[in-house]
Symmetry: D2
Subunit: 501 residues, 4 copies
């Protein structure tokens, strides 16, 4: 059984950028009209609280934004923002802002009929870039008229999605994408120069070439992009069986290689050195039927990623917050390997808690390794997360420096996610894997989906507080260690209380 | 480490009356106007769901029901039902009905000034029984006019509280109580004979004599009482330290002696044989500062009581549902030994779960011992509760008969309350016993106050499903064992899912 | 100014079947997943409370129920009830049950590609009736396994929608529909004979021939149908301008002609005489852009229809409860002539109140004319509705018999819908007809959308209570007249109160 | 019928301090634990939104803060903040802060037994000022430890209540009050000098002498008070009949005389010139059974006061927000002349709307007279309130300057409170004045208690928009006049829509 010991000084400061709550992914915008989507997102916002949300389908026809009609023999465009406003109102109500992705193509404006996904987003270039520019400008003007310019200019804008894949952009035509980018960029800036626009929103296929060419293009055209975006998935191609897919992940130690390469490419351009990179999508697998998404291993692997993503990137948006998602059709079962942090039925999955734990890390970093990270706030409270990617139990021994020497009392609170805690997948399996949950089953799954909370009172010895965490395989454990003063009320004795018979 | 083995046949039927959800106690009626009271009661009703609620103080002056004024030199009575209606409306809204206790005495009607409790309920007889009768009749007529006779006659009526204590009834004057009872009984029946009226609401002091004399009185006077009531506490007199009290409990095996004696006394009167006995108050200790109330031992001891109370009683009302309660003043801390199932701050205590577990026992009893009870419903689902009153770990091995022989799959769900689960008292202690909880502390206490849920899939062997429960000291474990059919969706493999890396 | 006088005897009993709350229509089932849909339906249920809900699209592919896959070279069907259960759960949560309409055709099962509506429901017969029967049976078996047979058999079943229109059923092929009906009928009854099945769900085109042939077919085939269904719209073909349509309605006096003809046709078959007829859709206009739907005239016209529909029909389902509805695309504005009782933004339209008023009519009918209806309950409370289809103010003078002669006090409460009350369309127009409502505008529209409530205290004279209602054009006025006893509290004087300065 | 015409220029700026939402009064602090209190306050905060709340009873024994016990023969003090925290948490949850009133005296600390009110607040000086100082300091230290110093120092502190009345302060002993003030002032400042402390909290009895002496005392003792407080009621002594009281009000024109005198007295001290005066209580009558409080006249009179109070005072706190209030016992009926803006049952009274209307006045004042006030915001939107204190109908003709000359369209929205609108007292009277409201009655009263909303579209003519308001006696009318642009959607015609038949 592996064991490690960490001695941590309270005044060390270790670099650690924690931006886990910056942005989260979502199924296409039309699905934001769903009740279950709203409930799931509300839960996510109450317990985690992201700042931005990003997804596809803003201009896809189900959102019904773009229309044409004839008047006196002349074709005219008109825009319908009924559904858009419903979605934006709700995001703001939940204290979220959109990270706008311009795409896909309205049928009426499209140059072709190629579509992507079960929900058939058109992925062909506009047949008329003037119409596209008008659409972008009218969109932003409408949003400004409704929400105010000072609000709307804080919504980042990304042009299209994964144009380096032929499935998402006809022919993966790089030059055509650059044109789309330039046209879009200019259209946005013509509305308000304060808008921030980025791209190229590529995934990890032929990505080095795309990134270099894109930056070269911007450089040559003097396009003052505001940030760089890409996606990051860490699995090999999946194997399919029936409705489900199974994957093998990249080894953890190499899991940041490709994004680090992107960082180096960007920094190699003097014009773009140190420019913000936003990972506008990430997850382990890139398919919404990959059963790994529902597992505790996914939670632990994600913890590791969150501990290191900030080294080279401004933000990294988990794809996605919930399982209302139709890219490959409608799932048959609540646990079907969807991307979501929340399963349908309002059940948090293990990775949900990874995000909640990182959300709570506040203060200066005093410790960071491949299995744990700890911060300390100005009141001397330590907060940390440990995870295990091993297949056997892992013991971590911590000795944390205490400001006030010996005898000081501390309360250690731990919250554990592992096979037997916050693991609804296992309970659902034991229930017989029902496709449609009864109220009773749903209640048990919800009740059992929270981490196990334990407390302990510790005492500093020789300037340190010592404790150990035993992590079962794939466990993620959150802990906080706070100095406490016993303030027992007059006459109260805990030991006497619990020894009464 | 003690260990027991139980082999249980599915078609045994063992006598077991489970009426744990019939009634629950409450702080005085005026407190039912409180917001925190309402929130606590709502929680109790959502998770447990009692039918009736009983408490003191209906006629105490803070409810402001009884008034007098002079008109043309003549004294007249008037009644104010403003607060009463607020309370009754809210009970009904929470799907509760009052178990009405007639008392205490309005100051204006009282023959003396003796009071009980911090909130000063007057405990002297009426100076004019005609006024008392008018009060009772006007109360019931008002309730009928507001809620309808068919509703109101289902509310049982009890006369006064613990008249056998001089603190609750001036001089513990037995004859005066009998008069009060008779006058009240007749006043109630004059409004509607369908009302059900009972007494003598005594506690365990000089109780045998009181019970006999009361029944003798009713017999002689031909008072057709509808049910018998008494209280039952199982602790010796407490020791006090500062704001708190510490007790020693009656040994579990003898804990029903006095109520069984009452049963025998009642049955010894041919007129009253088999008459319903309602234990209108019970708990371990009878003081609202007895720290034992907040412990897991209290939960286990209560489980034992609930498993056996029904042998001689129609119902038994836990005193009380929540900690908004002022009999001995306002508590200094959230965990102060209050009677409540719920601590202030909306935190369920361990005994809360004992009741929730018993609420879920539905079906025929197939097993009942001093440490466990099991029922089976018509679908073959077993539901049980086990508890440990021992100071060491207890292992129970169960072999439950399976209808369908070998190979049948079962899902076993367990919910555990013990030192490390659903035990907010311990966490609060580790936090330093703060008198006033911060939001963060409150959240941790609430989140950690639920039982630990675990599932397991079992397989019947040779006509039985076998499993064992290991109970830590003072644990209460709920379990349900349900036949399941694996309905794995096409392509889904749980073992493949969790072995992905 | 027209004026009428009605003298009403309290013991008259006039035939009047009031079943306005039996069923309501809805946009296609997929839209039931929407949050705004849910909110609108919740409002409708809280204020009105229908028993059933009926709409299209159960089998349309967005519900994702029907699928095929190959296994070992053999094509197999599989069913996905994920979305269906979400919808049904929510209906039941809102105390609603579905009036199931079997349709439209899943693409994979369809014999052709013809579709109806913006949302493209396939309207061709199945290419394989065995697959269709399996689908119907699996649907019902799934529902029974989830909700229980006793519940599900209370859900009426209708076969398809308006097969007499070629747009809804390929070629309006009558014989093919009869086959579909028979196959469906048998499939349903094979699951549980207690299910109630009806048709032919036709609208008012060639309806007499269809109805006769359908009944003849059932008679010949000995199909024991449980009820008859048809639709009823009372407008002439609309004129279109831009996104909107304008209509002329059938004169009120003739508005029941076609449904009365249906009644006569049905009764002409001895086998089907007095059989229940359910009008499974009705409204003024049959297009969801007909601006009349949002007007007060629509409310008054509907009031008249509700007062007379019951004469020949068991029920009549207003099409639809809300404006989340995509048959002709997504509306540009909140008031766009949608069918809904509630406009998007959760704003009740005038017709909403017509239904609420009829919902409140309880008791024996004592008066019914072309402009008003009155019932009386056993406590002597009168409840009535009056409406005006005239273009000038209408005064109705009522003299209602009072049981207790002269002097008895009554409280008259009126609730008025007219141009200046509960008419959000006018306020929205005055606001400039904004397509996208600000929070402030929305709040004013919601606040102003309730009827005007007025009270008056009346006194019976010579055995009658007299009052008059002045109805502005298109007004709908609800009133209740209840005997009251003045119970002024000691010292309270209303006249003195309001004269203080 | 009187009529007035006002021509208003858009660039006039008229002095007008509108601070109607600064503070509101409340029943004693213990009542803040009530559920109905919470519901009423929530309604008030949602619809109006005050910043501070002030009431009595912080130190009264029902709050259970101050206690004494003996240890080793020595008497010690201890403090219990259980209830205090419940109240403060809830205020903050409702976005309110307390305006702390130090009083009344804990029994254990009191020098005498004199009490005030039904709820018996002890009004005698402390027998030991050291204990009082400790109490004040411990209170503030506790609040700071719980809510943070930066928060708590924004809570103003007032010393005692109406010491100039012998009923509120034993013997109305001025010198003793000055001592209490000085001790309290010093105790508060010793905790944090940033706290703001004021007094003398007097009402209008012997008030000139008290104010002068108090200021003289502060001047001589060099007590750097932070603000001045007093109360203001505008009625003559009431006449009583049974449970109710009837009053005659001061004529409106003289209603500010006494507070203006206070202003002059304060300003006559160079040290205190221009010091903030907070009217920490005001209303028409000073008794909680004065039936005038529930009338529309009270709403109109209050409107006038709110339009002029700011001329000499920093704030003015309406006494009280709701009718959960026990100073004179528990009311028998929902409309009993309580101080509240909201009647029990969650029914807004007319004066509620006066406050909501003033809350909405935002912008520069362009018009202020004895019957109306108008402001204009930077977008050219006018908002105004008109009221009528006359006994006959009053017509006000407004001509408001329009920035853009002729033809500009405006939307006028009016909200009316008068005899037939937002006047639940009348409806309750017509219902027979029931003491205990049924659900149906409650619903009608709530539904009818909102102002009548009307819209109109106006057009500017010759640089002005003209409209008139007809005010029934005691009416209060809110209006907003906003420039609108007609944005009729393609094809929509309102006139065609409403003329369809």
């Amino acid at each position: 059984m592996p064991e490690k010991t960490y001695t941590i000084s309270s005044n060390t400061v270790i670099p650690f950028k924690n931006n886990a709550d910056f942005c989260v992914g979502t199924g296409r915008m039309y699905l934001a009209l769903f009740h279950e989507y709203f409930e799931q997102l509300k839960l996510v916002q109450e317990k985690i609280g992201f700042k931005y949300i990003r997804g596809h389908g803003l201009f896809t026809d189900d959102m019904a934004i773009y229309h044409e009609y004839e008047e006196n023999g002349v074709k005219k465009a008109e825009y319908n923002f009924t559904y858009l406003d419903m979605v934006m109102d709700r995001y703001l109500e939940l204290n979220l802002r959109p990270f706008l992705e311009l795409g896909f193509m309205p049928e009426k404006m499209a140059s072709g009929s190629q579509t992507v996904f079960y929900w058939k987003g058109n992925v062909t270039p506009p047949k008329d870039y003037a119409a596209w520019r008008d659409l972008v400008q009218n969109l932003l003007k409408h949003l400004i008229s409704r929400y105010g310019a000072d609000e709307v200019i804080t919504w980042p804008i990304e042009v299209w999605n994964e144009p380096n894949l032929p499935g998402f952009w006809k022919g993966a035509d790089m030059r055509e994408y650059f044109r789309l980018f330039e046209e879009s960029f200019n259209a946005v800036k013509s509305v308000d120069t304060r808008f921030r626009v980025g791209g190229p929103a590529i995934c990890g296929v032929d990505d080095e070439r795309w990134m270099k060419e894109f930056l070269q293009f911007c450089k040559e055209k003097k396009i003052a992009i505001d940030f760089i975006t890409r996606h990051h998935y860490t699995s090999n191609p999946p194997e399919t069986d029936g409705h489900y897919m199974y994957v093998k992940l990249v080894e953890p130690e190499g899991c940041m290689d490709s994004v680090n390469t992107t960082r180096r490419i960007v920094d190699s351009f003097p014009e773009f050195k140190d420019m913000e990179i936003h990972i506008t999508e990430f997850n382990t697998s890139y398919v919404p039927k990959a059963t790994i998404h529902d597992t505790i291993y996914n939670a632990a692997y994600t913890a590791y990623m969150l501990s290191t993503f900030g080294d080279s990137n401004e933000s990294y948006s988990y794809w996605t917050f919930g399982d209302i998602f139709e890219e490959q059709g409608v799932p048959y079962t609540p646990f079907h390997g969807g991307f979501g942090l929340v399963a349908n039925g309002l059940i948090p999955k293990p990775t949900f808690w990874t995000f909640q734990f990182f959300k709570n890390l506040k203060g200066e970093c005093v410790h960071r390794t491949g299995d744990s990270v700890i911060v300390r706030d100005k009141n001397g409270k330590y907060t940390g997360i440990a995870w295990s990617l091993a297949d056997e139990e892992l013991t971590l021994n911590f000795a944390l420096e205490s400001a006030e020497g010996s005898g000081e009392a501390f309360c250690l609170i731990t919250k554990t996610v592992d096979e037997l805690n916050a693991n609804p997948l296992k309970i659902w399996h034991d229930m017989g894997e029902p496709a449609n949950l009864s109220k009773e089953q749903l209640q048990i799954l919800r009740e059992s989906s929270a981490p196990y909370i334990k407390s302990e009172q510790l005492s500093a010895q020789a300037g340190s507080v010592c404790f150990n965490l035993s992590l079962k395989p794939s466990a993620v454990v959150y802990f906080e260690l706070e100095p406490v003063t016993m303030v027992s009320d007059r006459g109260f004795s805990y030991s006497r209380t619990i020894s009464q018979r």
